[in-house]
Symmetry: C2
Subunit: 371 residues, 2 copies
């Protein structure tokens, strides 16, 4: 089913992607990477779409990053050959799936514990395979990863002693940048994102390691951390779309947001209230994964800063309106979501818009939970 209707004839809620803005975002990040001699390995979790990954590679990306094995399987099935799974894979079933996949593409994975490294080593060695892996460093997010410096060096030594593993780099994701309250804090977080890898790499060089990839991530930080000499790779994801969070952080402007949710006013029950057909099962409930305090409501209504998306239930968005709002049942609005990535994960299709016309329908092939 391909739709070639005007945007007004689409049913709602629908996730729209403005192709012109998307391509500009892809080109701008590719130009940044090229200027600084960085490998660009964009994170697929934001779009989960074959067509967008192809645009990224065509613009100069050297490979893809994914958040989990399901995404890697979907992208390998779509024909992609160089994929970093930015995740610790634990457990027999998962390692069996990983090893199956390594016969079809170049895959690398993360480790942050000796238990995890031993599991991976045993699985790979039993099949005579060598798995490329990167040590994850915690540069302040407080999620996964070993601390920079000595703990990472110790894990590298363990990896060296294990068969079936090849240490190819160090990786970190300063996701706490999303909680930055101002540019100064964002700068500090991004600088430490780079420094945590550079410092650890210096220690590893003293132990004889060389040629390790030093990979930093996140759309808000890469334009800072990526400029540090020695950093070799960036893994931004959200930049293809941008969203209300990136606007709140000062990382993107509204006109750089490629993804919107088209929604219809279904109820106008009170003078100060309208209800639209995009709720939490479309817009997601994100208020900033790591504490973006600057967001107001559950998304920005495009061209209508006076409307506030105050609450979401599963299939309803409840808008607070100013006095005398002319909004009527049947009117349509476009919403820039707080966080584009989970919105993509909640739909099967992205509707591609060019000059106000829907010109394509791209399938979200790596949506969560698909087996």
């Amino acid at each position: 089913m391909t739709k070639n209707d005007y945007r007004e004839e689409l049913d709602t809620p629908a996730v729209l992607v403005d192709l012109t803005v998307l391509k500009e975002n892809i080109a701008a990040m590719a130009a940044f990477a090229q200027k600084h001699g960085l490998k660009l390995r964009p994170h697929v979790k934001s779009h989960k779409t074959r067509e967008i990954a192809e645009l990224q590679l065509a613009a100069g990306a050297t490979g893809l990053t994914v958040a989990k094995l399901d995404e890697a399987e979907a992208m390998v099935a779509a024909g992609f050959k160089d994929i970093l799974i930015a995740y610790e894979l634990i457990g027999e079933v998962k390692l069996r799936r990983l090893l199956d996949l390594t016969r079809r593409a170049y895959l690398s994975v993360l480790i942050d514990s000796e238990i995890g490294a031993r599991q991976l080593s045993a699985a790979a060695a039993s099949q005579g395979l060598e798995i490329p892996c990167l040590i994850e460093i915690d540069s302040g997010l407080g999620r996964t990863g070993v601390r920079p410096g000595q703990p990472a060096v110790e894990l590298a030594r363990a990896v060296k002693s294990l068969p079936g593993l090849k240490l190819t780099g160090l990786l970190t994701h300063a996701g706490h940048a999303y909680g930055a309250k101002n540019q100064t804090e964002l700068n500090r977080i991004a600088q430490f994102e780079a420094e945590s890898l550079l410092q650890t790499a210096r220690l590893l060089e003293e132990e004889g390691w060389s040629g390790l990839a030093l990979s930093v991530g996140s759309t808000p930080t890469v334009r800072i951390s990526g400029t540090f000499p020695g950093i070799t790779e960036i893994r931004p994801g959200n930049y293809v779309f941008n969203d209300a969070t990136q606007i709140a952080l000062g990382v993107a402007r509204e006109e750089e947001c490629a993804l919107t949710v088209l929604t219809t006013v279904i109820s106008r029950p009170a003078p100060d209230r309208a209800v639209v057909d995009a709720g939490a099962k479309t817009l997601a409930l994100d208020r900033g994964a790591h504490g973006t305090a600057l967001l107001n409501g559950y998304g920005l209504v495009k061209n209508h800063p006076e409307y506030m998306i105050e609450r979401l239930s599963e299939e309803h968005g409840i808008l607070a309106l100013p006095p005398n709002s002319p909004l009527q049942v049947g009117d349509r609005l476009e919403v820039i979501p707080n966080h584009a990535c989970p919105v993509v994960n909640l739909t099967d299709y992205l509707y591609i818009v060019e000059q106000g016309k829907v010109t394509g329908q791209w399938r979200v092939i790596a949506r969560g939970g698909v087996r």
Copy 2:
């Protein structure tokens, strides 16, 4: 692909449903409805699954409720014949889809505005059809719906004057019960849920209406609002599974929760922290749709009240642990989510567990965004 493994051999994250508990929950609500002479029209948005709808009908449910047209289409395709779409359907494309569907099943829909009623009337009348509709009453949630009493009477008059519409009842959903701080408040909300319909129905009887369905909803309220003489129908959804929100409200006990998320510890980066492979794209970010202040974290770790799910990022759940916790990389945990409904919407399969064994895999057929 059907899995017949033991639970320990499933890959994670996986959504598990304990069949014994599920059947007990279904039987208990059916018994309540029968005792009070109520029609039971369970809400499918919670499970979106053919097998569970069949169990509900086999236990005595008289039809199904859905939250949107996509769910209705999926359930009609699965063979179900009596479906209430508890939603206002607005716009040409949606009404065309609705009318197509009415040729294959008995469907009723909601109205809460004259604009909406006129759209529906025009579409139905143009095809010589008559669409059963219910007026939605706002009993305090502050979402969709007209106010009880005179505003509803006026909308009923408009419906009477329009061709192609048949008013079959009044409906309300006291979803703000999820924000109740104690049993007294919950009682008050549920009482008004019933009273708002009964009061409006008395006014409509004076205008000559009779035989209208009076339909109340929500798992926390139906056992109160359903006992009011004159109420004819209840539409609970979540009761099949229950979740941490129902526990917090005192509506269910932990052993009455049928749905859990099986997850693996992938990282143990600090003495007081573990990270599991169930994040916001599995557990959802719900903290209670209408303000459940009683929830602590992002779900309950079964048998481990000492573990707190403190933060979620997309694919990571971050657990705060007490001192000296023995939790290791590779350990598995089961989480009762805060809100079961969005968890189902994030997966393609429910793994059915009987006596600790996985005995089936049920497909989520009405997942959001599937076209």
